[in-house]
Amino acid sequence: MLKTYKLRIHKIFYYRSPYVFIWVITVILFCNFILTFRMVIRNFMDREDIAESYPGIVFLPLKKYLKEFSIVGYYTNTISSNPWTDVNAMWAYQQAQYALSPVLLDFNNLNHQFIVFNVTSAKVLLEKIQEIQAIPILDLKNGIALVKRKNQ
């Protein structure tokens, strides 16, 4: 008796064929369409202005100073055990990299003549500049600056 009442998926589909599959798909399709429509409208309403959403727009003023270089340094004081999977560290770095392309930014490497700084405060920036004996070329405030090393 128990065997008779055992759930058998293929039996259900067998006796109701072909309508079960078509109806299931159609109902789910309708629900999905509503869900997708809602998602798309929400995304569209939340969209940013095209000019403002340009990745790394804050770094763009540095570009004119770096025209002659193919690789410069990039420094951030964001502490992370693995910076490559750190969302905060990578977000800013990749935005800078996109905006300053085709200049490549060597992550946390201070051995370049020009270094793009993106640190948490002006105080940290000043300390680090003194430590590596560099001079600021352009300070964009909020810890973002382009510096040049004296001894390079």
Binding site: I9, H10, I12, F13, Y14, S17, P18, F21, I22, V24, I25, T26, I28, L29, C31, N32, F33, L35, T36, F37, M39, V40, I41, N43, F44, D46, R47, I50, S53, Y54, P55, S70, I71, N82, W84, T85, M90, W91, Q94, Q95, Q97, Y98, S101, P102, L104, D106, F107
Partner: protein
């Protein structure tokens, strides 16, 4: 409209190649249109690659000239052959294409709206793919430096090269090119799904399959994110459809076309390389078992060779990347049971309870269980390929050195997105096979 022209040029090149290859057989025209789109984009990306290597930087004049010369050459070849061919060429079935456009217009509108919500795409789109494209477009003779010092992400470059082609044609960088690229490839994916299925099942059911795929929220979201996953999705399905045609017709031209699509699949992303390798191995086993290896094998490999140099070149150059971190594995992680259980819980929860997948995976599993007896022999290759691929990806999560939660949350849904049209393809074929069997039984 100007943003469409480079893709139209690519399309004509791809379509002409397909019509030239398939001259021996009658073919389903709309399927060739959608296959031609992807093939043309692949050819354009290969042209960009060869121009970069041979001219040591991007030479826009050479790129555009090569496209026009190739188009002229293919057109002339087609005209020349047309006069001599005995089998009449099928003309474009405009009604079917028009019907496709009308039926799918609400979904295409949703795609367009969603794409314009994020003109520069999601994170990986601008930070990896579009960044590579704009670097190649601006860097001139320094373009190789990106391979040594660029950001991590050891993937092949079909997507950036295709974007560079679009920018080269219009003469400047514009966000419309990546948007157009993603929309065109998404529509082509749905097109090849419908007309690929239409070779096995009736048109109403295959159109329902297209509707179902396009109604999935994650499909719309990821296809317009400007990631390379849509490239893998398209070339995977295109390779499988060509592979199934090769198995059915045993034509050399089909084997060559399958090879080209497998090569382009390998050029799309690392996941594409894995998928192409798995498909190739399974197909070779099939060919050897059916004593077709000597007839089709060489043409298959010849097709693969079209894209192979670019894949090998990019992978060799990138192997010296100082920021490469993709393949950092720890085999001892296999012994950590907590890692396994966390991954399995995450995956099952995502497959069964994530509403943004629109129930596709639940229906897929139910359809497999219900209709397993009706599985056509030739569909075993794509199904086994999909299962092995997902299994290897899960194994990759287990042995990865990175935080497993980070790995899963950033990549798992994109992996599922890559195989979702294939799942719909298998699901609808199974249903049709079952339906046909029942109809035959009833008539008896």
């Amino acid at each position: 409209m100007i943003y469409l022209i480079p893709f139209l040029l690519s399309f004509f090149i791809g379509y002409l190649i397909i019509t030239l290859l398939r001259k021996e057989t009658s073919f389903n025209d709309p399927l060739s249109v959608f296959l031609g789109m992807g093939l043309g984009i692949g050819v354009s990306s290969q042209i960009i690659f060869y121009v970069l290597v041979l001219c040591n930087g991007l030479n826009v004049f050479v790129v555009i000239s090569v496209h026009f010369i190739l188009l002229f050459f293919l057109f002339a070849l087609r005209m020349f052959r047309r006069k001599r061919t005995i089998i009449p060429q099928a003309s474009l079935n405009k009604i079917t294409i028009v019907r496709f456009c009308i039926l799918f217009s609400p979904f295409i509108l949703l795609l367009i709206f969603n794409a314009f919500s994020r003109p520069y795409g999601d994170w990986d789109a601008w930070s990896l793919w579009n960044f590579r494209a704009n670097f190649l477009f601006r860097a001139q003779e320094h373009w190789r430096e990106l391979f040594y010092y660029g950001l991590q992400g050891n993937h092949p470059w079909l997507l950036p090269f295709s974007i560079v082609w679009g920018w080269s044609f219009i003469g400047y960088e514009h966000f419309m090119i990546p948007i157009m690229f993603s929309i065109i490839l998404t529509i082509s994916t749905v097109g090849i799904l419908i007309y690929g299925l239409n070779q096995y099942i009736d048109s109403k059911k295959s159109i329902l399959a297209g509707f179902f795929l396009l109604s999935i929220p994650f499909f719309i979201q990821y296809s317009t994110s400007q990631y390379a996953d849509i490239v893998v999705t398209y070339y995977l399905l295109a390779s499988i459809i060509c592979l199934l045609r090769t198995m059915r017709t045993t034509l050399r031209s089909e084997a060559f076309l399958t090879g080209i699509f497998l090569g382009l699949l390998g050029f799309s992303k690392d996941h594409g390389i894995l998928l192409a390798f798995l498909l190739l191995m399974l197909f070779l086993i099939y060919l050897i078992n059916n004593r077709l290896f000597f007839r089709l094998g060489s043409f298959l490999f010849l097709g693969i060779l079209v894209a192979m140099p670019s894949v090998v070149f990019v992978k060799i150059l990138m192997s010296s990347n100082k920021h490469d971190l993709v393949y950092k594995f720890n085999l001892f992680n296999i012994l950590i049971l907590n890692r396994w259980s966390f991954i399995l819980k995450y995956v099952l929860k995502d497959l069964l309870f994530n509403f943004y997948w629109g129930g596709i995976w639940t229906i897929f599993v139910v359809a497999l269980l219900a209709y397993r007896k009706y599985f056509l022999r030739e569909f075993i290759i794509p199904f086994v390929c999909m299962i092995i691929f997902l299994g290897l990806i899960l194994l990759g999560y287990v042995i990865s050195q990175f935080d497993v939660n980070w790995c899963l949350s950033t990549t798992w849904d994109r992996i599922l997105f890559q195989v979702s049209p294939l799942a719909v393809f298998i699901m609808f074929h199974l249903f049709h096979a079952f339906d046909s069997a029942i109809s035959i039984r009833k008539s008896e």
